[in-house]
């Protein structure tokens, strides 16, 4: 099993969610996040003072999948989240040792 994690622009969440549902993904976890990548943050002037905003709002989306599906799900997220501009985000995959469904106590692929 794999955990696919995507950090995306908040305004792409709707489209990413629909694309994942269309691709057959049945569950996901979404949380608000702050961060920066290669572009770093930016500066702003407010009432005469200059501020550096270096962590900008992002959305983190996490999906648990079977090994074979990881690359497909990654592709779906990348395609749906892409605007081509700086700050579009990243998607990565890590291996997952075990998953348990709390309600039934099932383990492994059955719990997905």
């Amino acid at each position: 099993m794999k955990l696919v994690t995507g950090i995306i622009q908040p305004h792409r969440l709707d489209d990413v969610k629909s694309a994942l549902e269309a691709a057959g993904v049945r569950g996901m976890t979404v949380s608000e996040a702050s961060g920066y990548g290669r572009q770093k943050g930016h500066t702003e002037v407010y009432r005469g003072a200059e501020y550096t905003v270096d962590l900008v709002p992002k959305v983190r989306i996490e999906v648990l999948v079977e090994d074979d599906d990881a690359s497909v799900v990654t592709g779906v997220i990348v395609q749906a989240a892409q605007t081509g501009k700086i700050g579009d985000g990243k998607v990565w995959t890590v291996a997952v040792d075990d998953v348990a469904r709390v309600r039934t106590g099932e383990h492994g692929a059955q719990a997905l």
Binding site: P10, H11, A49, V53, L55, P57
Partner: protein, 425 residues
Amino acid sequence: MLMSASLVLLMTPGLAFFYGGMVRSKSVLNMMMMSFGAIAVVVVVYVLWGWSMSYGSDIAGIVGNPVDQFGLQGAIYDDAGEFLIDDYGVPAVVGIGFQVTFAIITTALISGAIADRVKYGSWLVFTGIWVTLSYFPIAHMVWGGGLLSGSEDGLAAMIFGTTDGAATVAPIDFAGGTVVHINAGVAGLVLALLVGARKGFGKEPMRPHNLPFVMLGAALLWFGWFGFNAGSAFTADGAAGLAWLNTTVATAAAILAWLVTEKIRDGHATSLGAASGVVAGLVAITPAAGSVSPIGSLALGAVAGALCALAVGLKYRLGFDDSLDVVGVHLVGGLVGTILIGFLATDGGLLYGDGARLLVVQIVIALVAVLFSGVVTLVVGLIIKSTLGWRVTEEAEVGGIDLAVHGESGYETLGGGRVITEVRS
């Protein structure tokens, strides 16, 4: 009159709270800024040509001459340098202050129909053009002796003739059912259709983020409305007192009617419903405050409360995003008030055995106001759409219009996901 003018001015910041509480937390500042921006633009426009277009020398019954009293020249002092006194015995300069506050609140009302999604500059430009082309002409037609007034050249005089140089059956719009509420309500409908729905409308929850703000705003509106309605008697007499009492009675009845309607339809009597009921009652009694009895006000308020409560659900069925129910409350409430006068006016109403002539006149002025405002708003809205554009980017809309447009957030503790690390001054 100065007190009344100050009360009416207070309504617009009150409206900012009423609307600000109803939007999501990421757009509260933009919503409140739309009201404050309307105050700024409309006051500037009003002293330059607004007063003149509303009450200056008549052009074809439609509008006053904007050049005639441009910059208020000749509107404050007479030739001897003394303050001019108007027909009510009030210095004209006080009347100007009173009237400008009505133009402000009318324009600000429209903002609720296009909440969360329009460019601030486009809104400011719109307010200046719209108040010039829609509000001033309708104010002139109704209150400045134009087509919709009881003058001998007005529509009412054409329909039922004249007596002693005035219409036999004069239309009644005491404090602005047509000029303010039908006008703003129609403009809200047209703009909501033209600008389009918020992203996620009808799919994502867009519940009010701060209901205590909404209730505070409704309370400030109610308080300010005493200046609006009682002040429209232009003197502190029994007529003003009747308007004050009718305003309170209709509002109370509307709250109850809204809550009962909600309880039956949705199972809950909500605070948003109570606050909306306050506004629906105030809107409906506005044109009628001087011409109905307190018992008539009860009926008027109850009908308005129930009908508006039903009307606010229409936007989901018809698919237009009138975000904060400008159409459901102001257009519907304004129409209810203006038309029910035909039944409930103690002098001329159908239920008082005076026939249907007043009812016909009231329906005619309401329809003319709807058409005039609708066409003007459509033209102004289309021009702005094809030049400046209405919508902010999708990114700004989803991320929060407060941060994107104003560089601030209403609740800095939440930060909108941003972390500021360094300050250089």
